[in-house]
Amino acid sequence: MPGNRFNGFTDYGIGIGLRAPHYDHILSRKPVVDWFEIISENFMIDGGRPLHILEQILEQYKVVQHGVSMYFGSAEKPDREHLRRLKQLVKLTNTPWLSDHLCWGSVDGRYTHDLLPMPYTFEAARLTAQKIREVRDFLEIPLAVENVSSYAEYHVSEMTEWEFLNEVVERADCGILLDVNNIYVSSRNHNFDPLTYINSVPADRVAQIHIAGHSKFQKYILDTHDHPVIDPVWKLYDRAIQRAGHTATLLEWDDSIPSFQEVHREALKANRFLAGRSMAVAV
């Protein structure tokens, strides 16, 4: 499905994250890139260099917004100032869809600036879906929620992570940003089969896919976005696009960032899997 209602019926191909160390290269060499993903919060400001760079990028490239602090799963109302600034940015970028994480990170107005895992309960699913609907109504744009990497699980959970994801997206009627690296990381940390997760996701709701690298520690894996994508994650990606068809794909590389060419080359490896895949297959 090159496009669906959760990504504005677009067919965006393979993109990479727009990161400061690459600004000069992109603006001076103007490389051919299908699209860039920006971290919304980096540009929700009043003026200055970041917005100037973004305006230049927008003249030549397609841009999609990805957020890190909406905290759909936090048990508090969305921050009005946050929403106001986000909508202002949406108008500037014309992003066809907008994504943020299925997690929480703030409570009583205090921010942890982290993507904390949800308790997989029906109450949490109901509240999270309600908040996604509120945000979407305010922003007037399709939303997709991303599954996060996690290192902890709660006693109170009443279902698996993928069941929770399905419960939320069905209730909210929103899209999914399927992060196959996060599924791999969490599967190792919580001892589940990542393919069961991928096979359980409603393929017709997948608006976008994330791929990334991670770091292995002795007792757990950390989602660090500082390495190339490993083969088991590519296999999960392969399965995801078998089910969802050609889907906008984005490589995340946020730490120890190598040259633009190296990051782009890594992202384009996704073509090996996309080639030969039908444009619209849901298994």
């Binding site: 003026g47 909406m70 982290d114 308790p119 699980e153 919580h190």
Partner: protein, 313 residues
């Protein structure tokens, strides 16, 4: 268990300061053992206990916020020393945790908090406060709002008695007791130069920064922190210029602002007109003037523009 109850409990543990060896505290928020506290909420697995799983998030939180503070306040870090700076940040962030969706605002309350907790600055209180103000001004100047620049036609045939000008919001005006601009540039230059290969070089640079701090003599300076071509600059200005710019920003007429600026000035009366002219030319070149909320004659710009638009329709 209610979602809010769980999130409050987990957030309290995640935001509780780490031990000196950067591990999660053994004592839980509100007393009791942290291992029991963690086990109440978090499942263990075959490799990690509930405590260890919660600790991952506790450490991530502090590493993230402390590195953000170190990035935003390298000058204050040089003045206090690395260890003291980190301890101070832990206290500050415990007392004033982030209330913004962006890490950009993490240090917004630091100056006010330090004034209430001066012991952190020991005998360098004035110097440290000057540096915090400068470093926060730099953040504000970097991404502050730029309003439409003032055009010559906006001035019309305005007279000084009624003429009002506004200063760009991103221009930050500071009166300081130490030349902390020089110190900050020196600190940043040291930090920017790669020296990972040599501990000896790192040590020399650290000693050099300490010397730079200790030998810094007090000297009153007036500073405009501004940006040009999207880079931030520190521009020393004269006391008269500082007063004039502040008066313009507060909505005084140009005539009144000039009066205030030269009220106690040693500049001879005969030289003042040329001085003011030079200053205004410089600021206009730098793009510091913008169209005020009310126009130069005191009428509201926006209403006027809206009216023109509706006529055009």
């Amino acid at each position: 268990m209610k979602l809010l109850t769980l999130q409050r409990a987990v957030a309290r543990a995640v935001m509780q300061p780490l031990t000196s060896s950067e591990r999660m505290q053994r004592k839980a928020p509100g007393g009791g053992r942290m291992s029991a506290y963690a086990a109440q909420y978090i499942k263990p697995n075959d490799r990690l206990s509930s405590f260890e799983r919660l600790e991952i998030y506790n450490r991530q939180y502090w590493f993230r916020v402390l590195s953000s503070m170190a990035e935003d306040f390298p000058g204050l870090r040089a003045i206090l020393g690395g260890r003291r700076f980190e301890s101070m940040c832990k206290d500050y962030l415990t007392a004033r945790p982030s209330r913004s969706f962006t890490l950009r605002n993490l240090g917004a309350q630091l100056e006010a908090w330090l004034r209430q907790n001066p012991a952190w600055m020991r005998d360098r209180r004035v110097l440290a406060l000057d540096m915090v103000r400068l470093e926060w001004a730099e953040i504000e100047a970097f991404d502050g709002q730029a309003k439409p620049s003032l055009r010559s036609e906006d001035l019309g045939e305005a007279e000084l008695t009624s003429l009002r000008l506004d200063i760009q919001p991103y221009v930050q005006l500071l009166e300081l007791h130490y030349p902390v601009d020089d110190l900050l540039l020196e600190v940043k230059h040291g930090n920017d130069t790669p020296d990972r290969a040599s501990n000896a070089v790192q040590e020399r640079r650290k000693r050099s920064r300490v010397r730079a701090v200790t030998k810094l003599e007090p000297a009153q300076i007036f500073l405009a922190v501004h940006r040009l071509d999207f880079s931030v600059y520190f521009r020393r200005i004269e006391p008269e210029e500082f007063t004039l710019l502040r008066a313009l920003r507060s909505g005084k007429t140009v005539e009144r602002a000039i009066e205030l600026a030269f009220r106690k000035s040693p500049i001879p009366v005969a030289d003042r007109a040329a001085s003011v002219q030079h200053s205004f030319q410089t600021w206009a070149t730098l793009g510091w003037f913008c169209r005020p909320e009310t126009n130069v004659h005191g009428k509201e710009f926006l209403k006027k523009e809206n009216r023109q638009k509706s006529w055009a329709d």
